[in-house]
Amino acid sequence: MLVEGIKSRPVYKGLVLQPYARRHLFVLEGEGANALLDQADQLDETILSRSEVLYVARGSQGQGHDEALRRLGADMFFTAPTIATLLFRLKVSLSNAHMGTRLYIAGTEGFIGQAMTVALDLGMADAAILTEHRGSLARRVQCVHCKGMTEDVTQSPFACSHCGLPLLVRDHYSRRLGAFQGVNIDAEEPGSAPEPEELFL
C-alpha cells in the first residue's frame, strides 16, 4: 500500500506549439503564463489569429502576467478571477470547439488535473491536449476514505481538510479526478503518524 515511486504519475511534456491546428486554446494558471510567454517569438500572425488565451493568476505568484499575455494579441483573451470561473469558461469554449482544436494547459499539477478533467469529460482526445507543469509542486489530493479533495497540498502526511485523517500522499494519480491519492498513514496504529515533510513546494 505505502509503496513509493509509483508509475501512474503523469508526464507533462511541455507546450509544444502545433502550427497546423485550426484553433489553439491556451489555458494558463499563475506561472503557467510563462510556458506561453517564453515562446512568444514563435507566435506568428496565423497562430495568433487562431488563438484563445484563458488565464488565472495564482495568489501573489504570476501576478502581472495578464498584461504580457494581452499584449501577445491573440484572437481572444480572458482573465478569470478564480479557477472555477476559468474552468466554466473553458467548458463553454470547448463545447463550441471544432475538430482540430489543440488545448494547451500550463500551471500547477492540481490546475492541470482539473482542466484535463473538463476536457476529457467533454470527449476531447488525449492526443489533442498538451500540458506543462509550472510553478509550485503543490498537489491536489483526494482522500480515499471520505473522497474529499484538498487543494495545494505541500506536505506528506497532511490532515485531510474534510475528515481530518492524517494522509500519506501517494504518487498514484487519477487523470479523471485530476488528483493524487491520499491514504490514512496511521490506520494500523492510530496516533503513530510521522511528522509532516515539505515534499511538494
Binding site: 509503496v3 509509483i6 501512474s8 480515499v144 498514484h172 487519477s174 487523470r175 490514512n184 494500523e188 492510530p190
Partner: protein
C-alpha cells in the same frame, strides 16, 4: 451435486470457515517453493471434478453469504459499483456470459430461459425469479452489470479496448485487496498497475498487455494472484483501511492459525462478443493457516514461499507486521521434506 450454502459472516464476528471438502478444492497458487511476479497466464479450460476448475465460473458453499456481504458493502458505499456510459453493450455481454456459465455449471441452482429477447432468470439460492428484455435496462431492477454481479462471486471489471490499450471503464469491486475502483475507473492498463512494484521493470505488464489485446472470443485465460488478510474479511478496500488496518497488529503466536488467511484470486479474462471489451473476474478465496496446514504439501510450501518473498512484495502486500510470526508458526508444520512440483495436494 447440490451445494449446501453456509450462513456465515466476513465482518464483526467473522464466522467464515471452509468445510474439509472446500479445503481440498482450494486453489493453492504456488507450484513451487518460491514466488515472483510473472506473466502467469494459461487457457481457462474445464478441469477435474472436485477442483475450482470444474466449471468456468465457480460457485461454492460461500455463495449466499458472499452475496449478502456484497449487498452490505454497497449499502454503505454505492461507488463500489460504477460503469461509464459507453459500457452498456459490454454490460449486457457480461450478464449473458455469467448467466450462461452459472446455469450450465449449476442447473439445480440457476436456470436461464430465453425466448427471443424475453429472458427469464431463476436464481434459487437467492430466491430470484425475474423476466426481462435483453438489451432493455429499464426491465431490470439494476443496470445489467450491477444486477448480475450482485449474483456472482468475485469482483468484476470490464475493460474497454481502444488505442492499443485497455481501459477500466466499469466494475463491481467489493472484495478487493486494497485498491479503489472509484479512484482507478477510467485508467489504462499501465496506470492502474502503477502502484505494483518490480513488475514494470521486468516487463511483466508490457507482455501481459500485448497478450490481452489479442485475446480471442471463446478462449478465456486465467491467472492467479495472492496476498494475505487478517480475519476472513472480504472488504479490504482502501476506503475502509482505517477499519481493517488495525487487525494487522493483532496477530500473536497463539492466534496465527485462526486469524491469518491466505487470500487467493483466481482471475479469468474473457473477450466479449458484441462490445469487444474484456471481462475480468477476480474470484477471491480465503483460507486460514489452520486449514492450510491440513494439507501437508501446502504446510511445507507456504512458509518457504513467505521466507523467500522479495522485500518489495512483502511491503506491497502489507505483510510486514505479521510475516515472521506466521513463518514461525507454519514452520512447525514443515518437516523439511521436498515438495512435489505443481499446485495440487499430493
Amino acid at each position: 451435486m447440490s451445494l449446501a450454502f453456509k450462513q456465515e459472516t466476513f465482518r464483526d464476528d467473522f464466522t467464515y470457515r471452509n468445510s474439509p471438502e472446500n479445503i481440498r478444492r482450494f486453489p493453492f497458487p504456488f507450484d513451487r517453493d518460491e514466488y515472483m511476479y510473472s506473466v502467469n497466464m494459461e487457457p481457462h479450460v474445464k478441469g477435474r471434478a472436485g477442483t475450482v476448475y470444474e466449471n468456468l465460473i465457480d460457485v461454492d458453499e460461500h455463495y449466499v453469504s458472499e452475496m449478502r456481504d456484497r449487498a452490505l458493502v454497497l449499502k454503505e458505499d454505492p461507488l463500489r459499483y460504477q460503469a461509464l456510459p459507453h459500457m452498456m453493450s459490454a454490460q449486457w455481454d457480461t450478464l449473458e456470459l455469467l448467466m450462461e456459465q452459472q446455469a450450465a455449471g449449476y442447473p439445480e441452482h440457476f436456470t436461464l430461459i430465453r425466448n427471443g429477447d424475453q429472458w427469464r432468470w431463476i436464481n434459487r439460492p437467492l430466491g430470484i425469479d425475474d423476466t426481462f428484455t435483453f438489451g432493455d435496462a429499464a426491465t431490470l431492477p439494476y443496470e445489467p452489470l450491477e444486477y448480475i454481479s450482485r449474483q456472482t462471486q468475485g469482483d468484476i471489471c470490464i475493460v474497454d479496448q481502444r488505442d492499443g490499450n485497455l481501459w477500466m471503464d466499469a466494475g463491481m469491486v467489493t472484495t478487493q485487496a486494497d485498491w479503489s475502483l472509484d479512484f482507478d475507473i477510467g485508467m489504462n492498463f499501465m496506470e492502474w498497475h502503477g502502484p505494483v512494484p518490480l513488475a514494470h521493470q521486468i516487463g511483466v505488464f508490457e507482455r501481459a498487455l500485448k497478450f490481452l489485446l489479442n485475446l480471442q472470443l471463446g478462449k478465456p485465460v486465467r491467472r492467479f494472484n495472492w496476498t494475505m488478510t487478517i480475519n476472513p474479511r472480504l472488504d479490504t478496500s482502501p476506503e475502509n483501511y482505517p477499519k481493517w488496518g488495525p487487525d494487522r497488529t493483532t496477530v500473536t503466536p497463539e492466534n496465527v492459525g485462526e486469524k491469518v488467511h491466505l487470500r487467493v484470486e483466481l482471475q479469468t479474462l474473457w473477450r466479449l462478443p458484441r462490445s469487444n471489451a474484456i471481462l475480468f473476474v477476480i474470484r477471491c478465496y480465503l483460507m486460514n493457516m489452520e486449514e492450510l496446514v491440513s494439507v501437508p504439501k501446502w504446510a511445507r510450501r507456504f512458509p518457504r514461499v513467505l521466507k523467500t518473498l522479495p522485500p518489495e512484495l512483502v511491503d506491497y502486500k502489507g505483510l510486514t507486521r505479521y510475516r515472521q510470526t506466521t513463518i514461525d508458526w507454519l514452520s512447525t508444520h514443515d518437516d523439511g521434506a521436498p515438495t512435489s512440483p505443481g499446485f495440487w495436494p499430493d
